[in-house]
Amino acid sequence: MRLTAFLLVLATAASVQARTYDLTIERQVREIEPGRKASVITLNGSVPGPVLRFTEGETGEVRITNRLKEKTSIHWHGLLIPGENDGSPGFNGFTGIEPGATFTATLPLRQSGTYWYHAHSATQEQAGQYGALIIDPKAGSDIALKVDREQVVLLSEHTRETPERILRNLKGDAGYYNFSKRTTPELIADARKFGLKATLADRAAWGRMRMDPTDIADVGNYTLLVNGEPSARNPSLRFTPGETVRLRFVNGSAMSFMDVRLPGLTMTIVAADGRAVQPVEVDEFRIGVAETYDVVVRPKDQAYPLWVETLDRKASVLASFAPRAGMAVTAPAPRPRQVLLMSEMGHAMGGMKMAGAAPMAGHDMAAMDDATLTRAAARQALPATAAPACTAEHAAMGHCTMTPPAAPAPACTPEHAAMGHCTAAPPPPAAPACTPEHAAMGHCTPAAQSQPRSGTAVAAKVAGGTPFPRVDYGYGNDPMAGHDMGMPALAREGDTDGSGRVFGWASGAPYGSRVLSMRDLVALRPQADTRAPTREIVVKVSGNMERYIWTLNGAKFGEAPPIRVAFNERVRVTFVNETMMAHPMHLHGMFFQVENGQPIDRMPDKNVIAVAPGRTQSVLLTADEAGEWPIHCHLLYHMESGMMQKLVVASVDNRDGTPAAAHAGHGSH
C-alpha cells in the first residue's frame, strides 16, 4: 500500500512538472494596420502575445524579460494565485519589473478555463501588452468539454495615438473623441417628432446637468483587432464542417464594450470569465472589457461572418469563420447609435439635482464616515435605514422610497403605464431575485436544467411597442425603477429619435434575437459557500466626467484607506454606478458570485461585472485569498484616472494586511 502511495505521489509529481514560457517585452515598430507603421509593445515580437497554455494542477512558470525603458508588469487576469505572483505593482510587495530585468512568475494553477494576461503598469496594456491564457482541466474533470476544435478569439483595440496622449487629450477635453454629439439640426428633427416644447425641455435637462447623452465611450479612433488583425487583414478562423468548435472569446481591449455576432450560427455560452456555466444559447452577446466567454458552435460547410462592433458603433472588425481560405463573408448592417435616456442616469441624476443640498437618501445609503460602509446585510432593512435622511424635497423627487436593488419591479401606476414604462415585458423569466436570505428560507426554485436555456436579454415585442426592444443585459438593477423622477422623457427605451438614434444604453439587438443577460448565467458546479453575507460593502462608482477624474467612494486611488475584509469573511459588495457610463468592475485574486437572481448555490463566478449607467449590482464574496487585491474599473483610462481601490484580505491575526499563511492551507475551488 505504502509503495503504491509512493508511486502515486511520484507520478503526480511528474505530471505537475512546471510548464515554462519565456516572454520578452519590447517596444517595436509593427504594421498592425497594413501600410501604417506604429510603435507598439510586443511580447515575443508580436501583438498580442502568445497564447500561454497550461493544465490545471501544474505549477506554470513564466520568465518575463523587460526590454522596455520603463518598469513593467504582467497581471494574470482571473488566476487564483498568491498575491506576490499576481503582477500588480504596489500590491503584496511586488514593485514591478525593472528595465533589463527578468522576473519569474510562478503560477500554481488550481483552476481551468479561458483567461488572459496583460500589463498592469501605466497604459502599457493599450500599447499591445496582452495575450490569452488557457488552462485545460485536469484529466477526468467534470467540466471538461468534448469538442473537436478550439480557437482563441482575442478581441482588442489598436490606436494610432500613444496611450499617454489619449489620456492627456481626455484631461484637456473630456469630449475629445466624441464626434456624435447632438447637433442643432438634430434638435430640429427631434422637435418635428416630439414637439418643440418637449425637445427643448429634454435639451435643457441635459444641459442643466452638464452632461451629454451621447457620451457612450470616452475614446475613439480605435481599430478593432481579432487575434491582432484588423478587418483589413481579413482575419480568419478555420474549422472542418461538422466539427464542434469551442471559441474562447477574450475582450482584451482597454475601453471597448463589444457586441459579438456570428450570424447563421447559434452560439452556446458554456463559460464566463473562465468558469463553466450551464449552457445558454444566444444569437449574440455583449462582452465587457476584460471579460471572457467560451462559446460552442456547430458550423456547417459554409463561411460565417464573425462581426464585432463596439458599443458606440464607431469601431468594428469582421473576421471570417470558414472551412476554407478564400470564402468571402460580408458584414451585417451596422446598428444605430444610441442616445442615453435621462431615466438611465439613476443615482447620478439625483446627485446632480441635489446640488448644494444634503445628500439624497440613496447616497446616504452609500455615504460613510469611513471608505467602506459596514452594515447588517438584511436587504429588507435598507429602506428603513435610508428613511431618516429623507427630507420633503427628496421625497418629492421620489428619492426616498428606494427600491432595494434585488427586489422585484414595483407596481405599475397609471402614470407609468401612460409613459410606456409598463408595457415592455418585465425583465426576463429569472426575474424574482433570489437573495441568499430567500434561499435560506427555501424560496428559490432550483435552476438545474438539462436543456440549454435561451438568452433572455431581449424583451418580447408587444403591440404598440418600440421599434427596438428593451434589452436587459442584467448589468445591475435600476434603483429608481418605477419612480416618477419628474424627468422629461422624449420617448421610451427602444424608441428612435428624430435622426434615427435609439434611446437607451442597452439597445441595438433586434426583436426575436437571443441575447445573453447576466441573469442567464448559472454556475455549472454548485457553489461551495452558500452562507449569507454578514455585511455589505458599498462601492460608489463615481467621477467627474467634465474633468475626467474617476473615483470609488469619492476617492481616487491612494486617497482613501483600503477596504478591509477578514479572512474567510463572507461579504456582499454592492457597486452603485453614479455615472452615465458602464463600468466593468474587476477584482483580482478571487472570484465573486454575481447576485443575478439565481439560487445562491448556482450564482455564477465572475471576476469582472459590468454595471450599466445608473445601475446597482451586488456580488457575494468569500474572502478566501489572503493578500492585497486591486479592485478597479477595467476601463484603462478610468483606472489610470483614479478608479481603483485596494481590498485587503487579512487573517484575523494579521490585521495589518500582511499576507497570512492561511492561503496555503485551503484547497482548490
Binding site: K71, S73, S88, P89, G90, F91, G93, F94, T95, H120, S121, A122, L167, R168, N169, K171, G172, D173, F179, K181, R182, T183, T184, P185, A204, R208, M209, R210, G351, M352, A355, G356, M368, D369, D370, K540, S542, N544, E546, R547, I549, T551, A555, K556, F557, G558, E559, A560, P561, P562, E628, E640, S641, G642, M644, K646, V648, R655, D656, G657
Partner: protein
C-alpha cells in the same frame, strides 16, 4: 462696492455642484498599509502632471487699420491643483493697445468649478499690477464661465465676467456665442475708465474643427465702451467701438 464684489465671488461657487467631498483621511491603523500602497510610482498609477495650452489669434480691419487680437491660456498640473496662465491683448495698427498677463493658482474646489487666485500684470495701456481672485468652470446649461475680480495695486477695482457656449451645426462646424464685460467699482481716471460697466464684448464665432486641436474661425464681435467710459472716449475724440469681423485660428496642444 467692494463688499458687493466679495459677495459675488462668494456666491458664485453656489452655482457649482459640490464634489463628492474631500478624500477620507486614513485612520492611523491603516497607515502601514497606506505607506505601502503609496508606492504607486511602481505601478505607473501615480498622479501625472498634465499640460494644456490654448491660443486664439485673429485679425480684423477697423477704420482701415489692422486689428490683431490674441487670447491664450493654459495650465500645468494635476486633477485638483493647477497653475494657470492667461494672456490677452490687442494691437491696432502698429500700436499695442492692450496687453495683460495673469498667473493663477487654480484649485478644483467644486465638480465643475475651479477657484483661482493670483496676480495680473498689464504692459499696456500702462504698466500696473492687480491681485486676482475668481472662479472658472462650466455652469449649468454648459456655459463656459469665468468671473474674476481684479484689485489693482493702483487702486482700481474691477470685475470681469465672461461666458460662452457651443452650438453644434455639425460635430465639426460650431457656432460659439460669447459675452464678456468689465465692471469697474471705481473711477480709474488715468486709464480713462469711469465706474460702472466700462466695456462689453459680445458676438459669435463660427469655427470648423479640423481636429479638436485646430480650428479656423470667423467671428462677428461687437466690442464697445459703455456709459461713462464711452463718454470719456468720445470726449478724447476716440471711437467707443462697434462691430468688427475677425478671422483667426484656435488651437490647443
Amino acid at each position: 462696492m467692494r463688499a458687493l464684489a466679495l459677495a459675488l465671488l462668494v456666491a458664485a461657487p453656489a452655482f457649482a455642484q459640490p464634489s463628492d467631498g474631500p478624500a477620507v483621511a486614513p485612520a492611523p491603523a491603516d497607515k502601514a498599509v497606506m505607506d505601502r500602497q503609496v508606492d504607486m510610482g511602481a505601478m505607473g498609477h501615480h498622479e501625472r502632471t498634465y499640460t494644456y495650452n490654448r491660443i486664439e489669434l485673429d485679425y480684423a480691419r477697423d477704420d482701415g487699420a489692422g486689428l490683431l487680437n490674441w487670447d491664450a491660456e493654459g495650465w500645468v498640473g494635476g486633477d485638483r491643483d493647477k497653475f494657470w496662465y492667461k494672456a490677452e491683448g490687442e494691437r491696432a495698427g502698429r500700436k499695442v493697445e492692450q496687453a495683460e498677463f495673469q498667473a493663477l493658482y487654480s484649485r478644483n474646489a467644486y465638480s465643475f468649478f475651479d477657484v483661482q487666485g493670483g496676480v495680473r500684470y498689464d504692459l499696456e495701456p500702462d504698466r500696473r499690477g492687480y491681485a486676482v481672485v475668481g472662479v472658472q468652470g462650466l455652469s449649468p446649461y454648459l456655459l463656459e464661465t469665468e468671473l474674476h475680480a481684479f484689485i489693482g495695486f493702483e487702486g482700481d477695482v474691477s470685475i470681469r465676467f465672461k461666458q460662452s457656449f457651443d452650438l453644434l451645426v455639425t460635430n465639426r462646424l460650431i457656432v460659439s456665442p460669447m459675452v464678456e464685460t468689465d465692471l469697474y467699482l471705481n473711477d480709474a481716471a488715468d486709464r480713462r475708465v469711469a465706474s460702472g460697466f466700462s466695456r462689453v464684448e459680445t458676438g459669435a464665432a463660427l469655427r470648423y474643427e479640423f481636429s479638436r486641436k485646430f480650428a479656423p474661425y470667423v467671428a462677428a464681435v461687437y466690442d464697445r465702451k459703455l456709459g461713462g467710459t464711452a463718454r470719456l472716449a468720445r470726449a478724447d475724440g476716440d471711437d467707443p467701438g462697434g462691430w468688427t469681423i475677425r478671422a483667426g485660428v484656435r488651437a490647443w496642444f
